[in-house]
């Protein structure tokens, strides 16, 4: 129990530091307006290249790939920078996005992020084989999302990602995202394949059924 409390404290401290750093960075560099030419180029790239995986207007069809519509712009820029620097290393990041982001300039990243953030958020379809077990999973996921897991000291997700999971200036949007993409990322945080100190700490004690439940719940949020 003592160890669990320490973990929670450490995670909270790390989260606070990340938050402060991000707020400071945001203050240093207020988002510059996207030039019309850059916005047009970004829309063209998104419609004719990104769409091959991320779907029309960022509404990805295959749940292997995340929906980008309505995602926070700062988060998209941050991830593109991580892909370009090859420091986000989960399998699909490595196999696909390292290449795709390799030649993107900061301006192009900002314009692409701006484009996707302005698209109507993904309205997830109900799972094609939804069942009572899926409904039970969603209920369990809702409980974990809102209240955490007291026994293992898992903090409630809503504390950072907001009650509606719509994201904020510090945390990414999760609502309506494909469950299988979210699960893949939760597993990557859990195993450390995707390094992110806050999420590695929070997801560490989560068990597979808990991760599935949270992913299903988030997918069901519109």
């Amino acid at each position: 129990m003592k160890a669990t409390k320490l973990t929670v404290l450490a995670v909270a401290a790390a989260a606070a530091m990340t938050l402060l750093a991000r707020v400071a960075a945001a203050e240093d560099a207020a988002p510059a307006a996207i030039a019309p030419a850059d916005a047009a180029e970004a829309e063209f790239t998104a419609t004719t290249k990104c769409s091959w995986c991320h779907g029309p207007q960022g509404h990805s069809i295959s749940p292997i790939y995340p929906a980008l519509a309505g995602q926070k712009a700062w988060y998209i820029v941050e991830q593109l920078q991580l892909f370009k620097a090859q420091t986000r290393a989960d399998p699909y990041a490595r196999g696909m996005m390292w290449g795709m982001a390799a030649q993107l300039t900061d301006t192009q990243m900002a314009a692409l992020a701006d484009y996707f953030s302005k698209q109507t958020p993904f309205a997830s379809e109900p799972a094609p084989f939804s069942s009572s077990s899926a409904a039970a999973g969603i209920a369990q996921g809702k409980s974990i999302y809102n209240d955490g897991v007291a026994a293992t000291g898992v903090a409630p997700c809503s504390a950072c990602h907001q009650a509606d999971a719509g994201g904020s200036d510090q945390f990414p949007r999760l609502a309506g995202q494909h469950a299988s993409y979210l699960l893949k990322q939760l597993r990557a945080f859990h195993s450390g394949t995707r390094e992110q100190v806050v999420m590695n700490g929070i997801v560490g004690p989560l068990q597979e059924p808990d991760m599935k439940a949270v992913a299903l719940f988030l997918e069901s949020m519109h």
Binding site: E43, F44, T47, T48, K49, S51, W52, C53, P56, Q57, I61, S62, P63, I64, R94, G95, M96, W98, G99, M100, A102, Q103, P128, S180, K184
Partner: protein
Amino acid sequence: MGQFNRFQLNAWYQRCGALALVLFGLLCMQPAQALPLFARQTGMACLACHTVYPELTHFGRMFKLNGYQLDNGKDLQMITDEGKQILALPAVPNLALFVMVGDVQLAKPLPDSNIAGAKSLSNGGIELPQQLSLLYGGKIAPHFGAFAQVTYDFSADTFNIDNTDFRFANTVVLPDKRPFTYGVSINNNPTIEDPWNTTPAFGFPYVPPEVNVPSVASPIINAGTAYEVAGPVGYILWNEQFYAALGFYRHAQNGSNSPGNAITGEGGPVDSATSNVISGWNPYWRVAYEYDFDRYTAEVGTYGSQFKIFPGGGNALAGPTNNYTDVAEDFQVQFIGEKNTATLKGTFVRENQSLDATGPAGLGTSNASDWLTYLSTDFTYWYKRKYGFTEGYLSTKGSTDKLLYNGGCLTMPVTKCTSGGPYTSPNNPALAVGVVNSANGDPATNAWVTEAMYAPWLNLKIVLQYTHYTKFNGATSNYDGVGRNASDNDTTYLLMWFAL
């Protein structure tokens, strides 16, 4: 077990040993730099474009139809004083080596081509390499890309022009925000411009099961004119879903089939010395629709061609032609999961042959017109893109034509068939060896193809293929009139292919 069989077994062990050595060497290779040309250009792993080579994913189809343009490396560039770009060359040449190593066993050895009653010394044999291709692929300049292959053919011991596809492509965004791609592919193999794996150029079977014994008939669109024609194919793609293509092919002077012009000594134009000369421009068309949902992509389509061919080979290139009209339907359902990928696909071709040149003249065909149908369908499953299997069924049916299919003619279309009767050996014309003819003139051939596959790396695939014929060249038993049965041509084929 007799002396002969023991010898065979020893030879088999030796071959297995040799293959095992090669295999071991390859498995010890470091994979870090072992990604082929498109991966180098895009900076992406093979799995972006392929489930497992050569089957394309949706991303791979888009990459191909956009002219192999995605370029995530640094270009060598040149601009004019006015700022206009006149060079955008990939810094690393997009070259790759593609190697196939095969070993083949027939259920029953072929007869000796010189001595009546004797059998061939070894049954099959290692082909190291069976095929070795040098490939250039990817971006040449903005909007202009290529996939070009020069291949070493073991059996002919020569380098030949293989699949070649130069294409221009551009994509615009329509007012309703949907993408629209248009392009032109200049290529040498009808259906190679197509991005699905249902059409013949990149369709099943990827590895030909008829390694040793070709069946007597196949529709002309099924690689019947590959590398002997060339032409432009224009295409459009709307919203990554609807695809339409129209092209025209004409005879291309290429390789041993076209000796060129005897008067000038140059490569062309060809004359009556050349066999099977394709007359004028011949149309090819294709329409397909892809619907993507969840982890699935589903495609239905149709394609076809019409080829007019002069028999040539001593006959003037004038007058009527043999006309081959092919119409085909195809479908593909692809599932790509985190660990499991599965594909079910198939195509059905109907060919009408109006044999105006050879039919009435009795020049190799008994009938004035013939027909053929060809069905190919297969299911492939991969676990973690590492362990896979395929079960496929191939079926050819057609009209009975004694002279065409029993006259010693090996390939379609045919120019010179001598007489009805089993195929006689080129080495000993008095010896009727059969094997490749149909005694009853019926081309029907049915085969089950089973493959077990192992891909230790994304760019190295080992395939063990077994082909079982339930019917071959029109019959189950004694199909050639010399006593060979369909199942005698059952083939066990061990193949390794890798790209680097």
